[in-house]
């Protein structure tokens, strides 16, 4: 029911292929929303006062921590939901939260450049736990790595050659499973009494993620190979692309600070003109004008808004990032 409601087969500006792509992706969004609402129920495990004080570096990790910890943990996100994690400026209150924290969760992979120094300066007893430990790392500019065949996608481009790691690893649900496992392990070390609860919550959450992942895989598998290209504003969706065999192109670089080049924009415009099945997505927490300009140039419309580095509202749906 939700599918048909927001699945939106009403786009008039493109051929059927386009409609199919956007419709399919939108249906996924709707399904994810429903799953997210289920997953977002208050957790019954470990009622009473919170035992662990947890600081997470940004809202997506904070949300996973809440799912795993339930009522036993009190989670603070340093970069609040809806904010741009690339430009965070810490305040003394946040340094204080770090100092008192029992567990500090960071993404790692260079996402939080400031975190080590902040923790050291705050003088806390918890050393940061890198939740991305053990994921298969993607290098910046590297596309279609691993087992996913992307040969039939339009030729990749972009001048990113630097071998910096792409920190946005949480975009792949399988990495999300790794994150959740790492979070549960960190909680168990800090609070042995609550360990069974954490493990149970993590297992339940991982189950939900796996189910969602399976659904998404099935849905994307139905997409024809030439309709798997998406265009986003900043280059944060490489992992998502790798997970589902999507060809992800971006107007800007890995960080939101980098500036677009005329060459990149021109190539994106040409690509969208020549391939009917290219879906465009804007992002929360970013300037919509560049994407609007590309859309105006090609007659395409921006299909929706993606969550890259942040969630919309505090305690927002945990699985919503994979929409």
């Amino acid at each position: 029911m939700v599918r048909t409601k927001s699945g939106g087969g009403t786009r008039r500006d493109r051929g059927t292929g386009w409609r199919w792509t956007v419709g399919g992706l939108r249906a996924l969004v709707a399904v994810l929303g429903a799953v997210a609402i289920l997953a977002g129920r208050p957790d019954a495990a470990g009622a009473g006062e919170p035992v662990l004080k947890v600081v997470a570096s940004f809202s997506i990790i904070a949300d996973m921590a809440r799912q795993v910890g339930g009522a036993r943990v009190d989670v603070v996100s340093l970069v609040p939901a809806g904010s741009d994690a690339h430009v965070f400026r810490p305040s003394p209150a946040e340094a204080e939260a770090l100092r008192r924290a029992d567990v500090v969760l960071v993404n790692g992979l260079g996402f939080e450049g400031y975190m080590g120094r902040l923790v050291a300066a705050a003088g806390g007893r918890a050393s940061p736990v890198v939740v991305s430990e053990g994921v298969q790392v993607l290098l910046a500019g590297e596309r279609c790595a691993g087992a996913v065949p992307c040969d039939d996608a339009p030729a990749p481009f972009g001048t990113v050659v630097a071998k910096a790691t792409d920190p946005h690893a949480w975009q792949d649900p399988q990495n999300g499973v790794v994150y959740v496992g790492n979070i549960a392990r960190a909680f168990c070390e800090a609070d042995r009494a609550g360990c069974p609860d954490y493990k149970a919550a993590a297992a339940r959450y991982i189950g939900e993620i796996e189910a969602l992942d399976g659904e998404l895989r099935a849905a994307f598998a139905r997409l024809p190979a030439d309709r798997r290209t998406i265009v986003t504003s900043h280059d944060a969706f490489g992992y998502l692309g790798r997970a589902y065999g999507l060809h992800v192109l971006a107007a800007e670089g890995l960080g939101t600070e980098s500036e677009p080049t005329a060459q990149t924009v021109a190539r994106l415009v040409r690509l969208i003109r020549n391939h009917k099945g290219v879906a465009m997505f804007g992002e929360t927490a970013s300037d919509p004008r560049l994407m609007a300009a590309i859309a105006a140039e090609t007659g395409a419309t921006v299909g929706g808004v993606l969550h890259a580095d942040t969630l919309d509202a505090p305690g927002g749906p945990p699985t919503a990032i994979w929409r």
């Binding site: 741009d84 400026r89 500036e259 677009p260 080049t261 005329a262 990149t264 924009v265 021109a266």
Partner: protein, 290 residues
């Protein structure tokens, strides 16, 4: 690759390239004469100061209306005007020089802005959202820039004579007219208007860069004020055109590419400019010695 592909093709094929060029021409029309006047008044760093000074206004706009461009730009304009006018008034009423009073007020303004942003509990980079890119010129941005350029040129024409006298000999203007402060403050208002419109449409680097670098380069090509302004305008437009092509063909970010081209123009002028150019001066001296 033919010459057409090299120079015209990108503009013929892509409307975003044409829009970018149109925005640069419009910006240059208003900003380059103002840049020349700023240079003559030794206020060349005003543009950079102003980029920080507008933060509290943009933040206030954000707190009231959310992530919406218009209130943020309007707030920024008000904050910029307040900073410019206050520093202008202080430099007139006290012995403090204009640069020192501007520095004081823009720092206060910046600190106020960071505080407001933090109180608002958001760490979205407001400036990143507010400051546009030359590749994303929509109709609104083009109209804004062209409108500001028109207002600037008309206003400059009206206050030109007293303004020039004010630049050269404020004491003399004070003896013949009481318009001095009015002219000065009007000029500061135009400066802020051009900068804020430029930030919003093209980003900070580009609007300050196209205001000051061509003006500084023009200094080595012309002596009279009118010619300085014309040369600066031409240099700005050529930098924009070449910079966009460099960005297109070599895949470099557009704003920095344009400003770097303007920088190369400045370097060439510095060395070879007929008026006080470094090498030109050397050659002349050798001739005299011989």
């Amino acid at each position: 690759m033919t010459l057409h592909d090299l120079l015209i093709g990108p503009f013929a094929e892509f409307s975003f390239m044409r829009r970018a060029l149109a925005g640069i021409v419009a910006l240059s029309a208003g900003a380059s004469p103002i840049g020349v006047l700023l240079m003559l008044r030794r206020m060349s760093l005003t543009g950079d100061a102003m980029a920080h000074a507008i933060l509290p206004g943009a933040a206030a706009g954000f707190l009231v209306a959310g992530l919406d461009l218009l209130p943020m730009a309007a707030g920024g304009l008000v904050a910029g005007l307040v900073v410019a006018l206050l520093s202008g008034l202080v430099s007139r009423a006290t012995p403090l020089k204009e640069d020192a009073s501007l520095a004081s007020f823009y720092l206060i303004s910046l600190a106020l802005g960071v505080t407001l942003v933090s109180i608002g509990g958001s760490n979205v980079d407001l400036m990143h959202v507010l400051f546009g890119s030359v590749l994303a010129m929509d109709d609104q941005a083009l109209v804004l820039i062209a409108g500001v350029a028109t207002v600037s040129l008309v206003a400059l024409a009206v206050i030109y004579r007293p303004l020039v006298i004010e630049c050269v000999d404020p004491g003399f203007l004070a003896t013949v007219s009481r318009l001095g402060p009015v002219v000065h403050l009007t000029f500061l208002g135009l400066v802020v208007l051009n900068l804020v419109a430029g930030y919003q449409a093209l980003g900070t680097l580009l609007s300050v860069g196209l205001m000051m670098l061509p003006a500084a380069a023009a200094r080595f090509w012309a002596r009279s004020l009118g010619r300085l302004m014309l040369v600066a305008f031409a240099a700005a437009v050529i930098s924009g055109f070449c910079g966009l092509l460099v960005s297109y063909h070599l895949g470099l970010p557009s704003g920095p590419a344009i400003v770097l081209v303007a920088g190369v123009g400045y370097g060439v002028s510095l060395a070879l400019g007929p008026v006080d150019g470094v090498l030109t001066g050397l050659v002349r001296r050798r001739h005299r010695a011989a």
